[in-house]
């Protein structure tokens, strides 16, 4: 009897290990940020359409905010734009845009045509700040708490469900209207 039981047990154990590995494999939409729980990098970036103005991490500290990485070259960014506009209308969290490896004129045109959901848009022309944030594709959206720590990172287009489940749920009481 054990002749068959032992191989069967080994087979089931192996199948179990592989099943768990496949289910939890790091695919693009679930891969969590390496910065989770850590402060976001210091940055000082020009503000889109405001020559001479810069945005730094220190200016945003003190209340939670959301960083959305986008570019006019990114098709999925167009897909999520309406959701971002709806989110901006809720007026719960400031939406900071990071215009990644784009052109100022194209970015300004985009916001004029589609509407501007952002409180402010920082310009990362050469992609150095995006690397520091561990960005590997647009769009990516970060929830950053009042102490400038990353609490969550969503890869891919923002949806109302993700916004509610992963972002609104992380807003501390008292900040919500």
């Amino acid at each position: 009897m054990t002749r068959f039981l032992i191989p069967a047990a080994i087979f089931l154990a192996l199948a179990g290990v592989l099943y768990v590995a496949v289910v939890h494999s790091p695919n693009k939409s679930t891969m969590q940020s390496a910065l989770l729980g850590k402060p976001v990098p210091e940055f000082s970036l020009p503000v889109l359409a405001n020559p001479g103005v810069t945005l730094t991490r220190a200016q945003l500290q003190g209340r939670p905010w959301v960083l959305n990485v986008w570019g006019t070259w990114c098709a999925a960014c167009r897909d999520e734009h309406q959701t971002l506009l709806d989110i901006a209308r809720q007026n719960v969290l400031p939406l900071v845009g990071l215009n990644w490896k784009d052109e100022d004129d194209a970015a300004i045109d985009w916001l004029k045509q589609l509407g501007n959901p952002y409180s402010v848009v920082a310009v990362d022309r050469d992609g150095r700040t995006a690397i520091e944030f561990g960005v590997y594709g647009a769009p990516e959206t970060f929830f950053i708490d009042a102490d400038s720590r990353v609490q969550y990172r969503h890869v891919g287009p923002m949806t109302p469900e993700v916004w509610e489940r992963e972002f609104l749920s992380r807003v501390p009481r008292g900040v919500l209207p």
Binding site: Q32, I131, E132
Partner: protein, 151 residues
């Protein structure tokens, strides 16, 4: 003058191959100031994963992000960082996934240990089977008669 078909075909093939080789080097023109740095640059960029691609290193990928990461590696090397420091900086931003060779940590230990464990179990099982059969053969004093074989 009539050029033989074969020569023309060969010339065409040569031109095609030259074109392809030019394409493959077109995006990797960055060079380091010293051969020693160049060697380290080549090694590092080949062991860092291009996060936008499937199983391509940042050295092999033409996408923009890989280009930015190569620039980052180059700048850190020139700034005097060690290979370990550069790897650490990459892992701090992107996690262990960016390394093709995962480090030995509690969560990755099984990846390294499991194959050897399986091998050990296999050796143990094989040894047991061999021992059992040897014992069986030693205790078996029956004689094979010619008619047993022919039957």
């Amino acid at each position: 003058m009539k050029i033989p078909m074969r020569t023309r075909a060969l010339a065409g093939l040569a031109a095609l191959l030259l074109g392809l080789s030019l394409v493959s080097v077109a995006f990797d023109v960055e060079s380091m100031p010293t051969p020693a740095l160049q060697k380290r640059y080549d090694a590092l960029t080949h062991e860092l994963r291009c996060m936008q691609c499937q199983n391509q290193s940042i050295a092999d990928s033409p996408v923009g992000l890989a280009e930015d990461l190569r620039r980052d590696v180059r700048e850190q090397l020139i700034a005097g960082k060690t290979d370990a420091e550069i790897r650490e900086a990459m892992v701090a931003r992107y996690g262990n996934v960016i390394l093709f060779r995962p480090p030995f940590t509690p969560s990755t230990a099984w990846v390294w240990v499991f194959p050897f464990l399986l091998l050990l179990i296999g050796v143990f099982v094989a040894a047991r089977i061999v021992r059992k059969r040897t014992a069986l053969m030693a205790s078996d004093d029956s004689v094979i008669e010619p008619e047993d074989v022919t039957r």
